[in-house]
């Protein structure tokens, strides 16, 4: 798991440019699934055929980044955000482009740091002038944090744990899934960070019986953290709600009772702000019962995101067990009036 997570985390894959991550995932899964394909939005599908319930599990591949909007005479690159990027976090960061070009983020003179906005920042790739800069980077190129993974005990620090940690869990689950009648669609989605766009078109395409997302979630266990009853290392979470989805009560209940039965540590998650792919999936077509398993993650959307390996291992167990159990959809859904 450690090796896989390191590889995925260090890979380049901002929203809309997920191919490099997609290739890695394809290589990991091609011997374990019946079909692999992509689509117009950039999603990667890995399919295990079956005759039982049709289950879609989404883990988004994309990470936040910055997109070059203008190259100055002197070779400095101006940029805008791709997804939720905080200008204060960007200060002093190293950024990397798809072709490997690396730059550092500089700041205009500012009399008050509180006034820092993205417009005051630029990327310096060491170019002497515009000509030298555009030989390496063009307007429209997207950069992500450049950051190696490090181990901190049983915890891992790095960029893009949101959501390569989820990708790693889904990959492992697909590899460990052996016998099941269910038809499983592992969808490594694109463009989640800019508005759940990949999962929207993927769930329309698949029209599954049941939808899942595997993503990271915020925690409330750090100094002066916003109140939230999720801690790092206490197990994966079963999501109750966030800003994008109220998880289907039956799905939540099934995940909880499975975790109880199998003695898998878990936490219930109510996330005040932020959304995940299940937000798009559950509103697809006529509505699709959906749930979320999250991996607690500290310092989300910084280059120092931290996850716990036990949380991930337990997420794999919970997901694998859920996907392999027989599901009689007629019996389980709809359940509101029963």
């Amino acid at each position: 798991m450690k090796q896989l997570l390191k590889k995925l985390s260090e890979a380049y894959g901002p929203s809309g440019r997920e191919e490099q991550v997609g290739r890695m995932i394809r290589d990991e899964l091609k011997d374990y699934v019946d079909e692999i394909y992509t689509d117009n939005t950039g999603n990667l599908y890995a399919v295990k055929k079956g005759t039982g319930a049709k289950i879609m599990v989404a883990a988004h591949m994309d990470e936040i980044g910055v997109i070059v909007t203008f190259v100055e005479e002197k070779g400095f690159l101006r940029f805008s955000n791709v997804g939720g990027v905080n200008p204060h976090i960007l200060l002093g960061q190293r950024m990397v482009f798809a072709n490997g070009t690396i730059g550092t983020i500089g700041m205009e003179k500012l009399d008050d740091i509180k006034k820092l906005t993205l417009e005051k920042l630029y990327i310096d790739i060491g170019a002497k002038d515009r000509e030298e800069a555009v030989a390496k980077v063009k307007v429209g190129d997207i950069a992500t944090y450049n950051r190696d993974v490090v181990e901190a005990g049983n915890r891992i620090i790095g960029k893009a744990m949101d959501n390569r940690a989820g990708c790693a869990v889904l990959i492992k689950a697909m590899q460990e899934l052996t016998k099941t009648d269910n038809e499983i669609y592992a969808v490594f989605t694109a463009q989640e960070e800019v508005g759940l766009r990949g999962s929207r078109t993927a769930s329309y395409r698949l029209n599954p019986d049941l939808g899942f997302a595997v993503d990271v979630t915020l925690v409330g266990d750090t100094p002066e953290a916003p109140t939230m009853d999720v801690s790092l290392g206490k197990g994966p979470t079963v999501k109750v709600k966030d800003a994008s989805v109220i998880c289907h009560p039956k799905v939540k209940e099934m995940l909880e009772s499975l975790a109880e039965k199998e003695n898998i540590p878990y936490q219930l998650e109510v996330l005040i702000a932020g959304g995940t792919d299940a937000g798009a999936i559950h509103l697809s077509r006529e509505g699709i019962p959906s749930g979320v398993i999250s991996i607690p993650c500290r310092y989300v959307h910084t280059p120092g995101e931290m996850v716990d390996l036990d949380d991930m291992a337990n997420a794999v167990r919970l997901l694998t067990l859920f996907l392999s159990q027989p599901l009689n959809m007629q019996e389980i859904f709809p359940c509101y009036l029963s």
């Binding site: 909007t69 203008f70 805008s80 078109t201």
Partner: protein
């Protein structure tokens, strides 16, 4: 000139009938099929049914106001329809309702304003439409609650091959697509003139759903902010700099194959072009790309200064070059130059 006719016509979001009529008249003879849908989108289809199915889209609607109340004095209270800057509204001539009743957007005269009032833009709540009547009764004989209010402006030529007028956003897209639709392409083409873009991309989604094309091209108008007080990096686009290809906006990220298609076509044909250097604001392209299981979508825009005002400026060279670029792209698609099948092959 079709563009002049289209821009001078009135068609606030939800009230696009006049624009629909002009386009029907202009294009009916060139289409195999003409139809509208429940929202008011206007479709023209023609083609040989071979090759990829292409959707072309431009929105018919423009920003404006809507009548929400009458004062005893006969003045009209209004709300905005779409994104309008309060500062552009005061003292502008308008027309109200089906009968195009003339009026003006009024506000307290400068002499009567307190010093503090003069420092701020007057909010829509403090603006009103003056029809030149003296009572509510008289006003109600002329217009009704819920009537649309459109800014009114003639389209004039100016300077170095430019036009000044209103509603270039997106009648210029409509005009470009209407002229292109008359030409022959070896493609199954549906041109859609969409409704209600300015109030939330509402027409394009259902249009794309019903056509279900292999590829869609949206022609828009976008801000040119190459003016006083804006740094180079914030110009968004440059007037006269050629068609602006969108890489990313609030609703859409251009797929690399689409960027390559537009840039390579422009380079091959020697068409000046630029990228839109702003990533906020949404367009029909975002909505279309998210329809069905995802539709390959491209977005190109004509730069427009003072957009969303009745005195916008566009450059005719930009209009012609945008048209040439879209035509070139359609020809490339017709020749099989765009890979549509995305399979495992894509990830190598």
């Amino acid at each position: 000139m079709l563009l002049k006719r289209l821009t001078e016509a009135y068609g606030v979001s939800g009230d696009e009938g006049d624009i629909r009529d002009i386009l029907k008249e202009e294009l009916s003879g060139h289409a195999d099929e003409v139809y509208t849908d429940a929202l008011g989108n206007l479709f023209f289809r023609k083609g040989k049914g071979r090759g990829p199915k292409v959707m072309l889209a431009a929105h018919m609607d423009e920003i404006g106001l809507i009548v929400v109340g009458f004062e005893k004095s006969g003045l009209l209270r209004v709300h905005k329809v779409g994104g309008i800057d309060d500062r552009v509204l005061v003292s502008k001539p308008v027309v109200v309702g089906k009968n195009k009743v003339p009026g003006v957007i009024g506000a307290k005269a400068v002499h009567l304003q307190k010093p503090s009032e003069r420092k701020k833009a007057i909010k829509i709540e403090n603006l009103y439409i003056d029809l030149g009547v003296r009572s509510q009764d008289e006003a109600e004989k002329l217009v009704s609650l819920g009537d649309y209010v459109s800014l009114s402006a003639k389209t004039r030529e100016a300077g170095d091959n430019c036009l000044i007028g209103k509603a270039f956003d997106d009648r210029v897209g409509c005009a470009i697509l209407a002229e292109l639709f008359k030409e022959d392409f070896d493609l199954d083409i549906t041109a859609v003139f969409t409704v209600q873009e300015e109030v939330g991309l509402r027409g394009s989604g259902v249009a794309a759903y019903s056509i279900h094309p292999d590829v869609a091209i949206v022609v828009e108008s976008t801000s040119a902010s190459d003016v006083v007080g804006t740094k180079d990096a914030s110009h968004v686009t440059t007037l006269g700099g050629g068609p602006a290809i969108t890489l990313m906006d609030a609703s859409y990220i251009a797929p690399q194959v689409i960027i390559d298609l537009f840039v390579q076509t422009a380079e091959k044909l020697g068409i000046p072009h630029q990228f839109r250097r702003l990533t906020t604001s949404g367009t029909d392209a975002g909505k279309i790309a998210q329809t069905h299981a995802g539709i390959l979508t491209g977005l190109v825009s004509v730069p427009c200064r003072y957009i969303h005002s009745p005195a916008s400026i566009i450059n005719i060279n930009d209009v012609q070059n945008t048209s040439r670029l879209v035509k070139g792209v359609l020809n490339v698609i017709a020749e099989g130059g765009l890979t549509l099948e995305t399979t495992t092959e894509k990830i190598k």
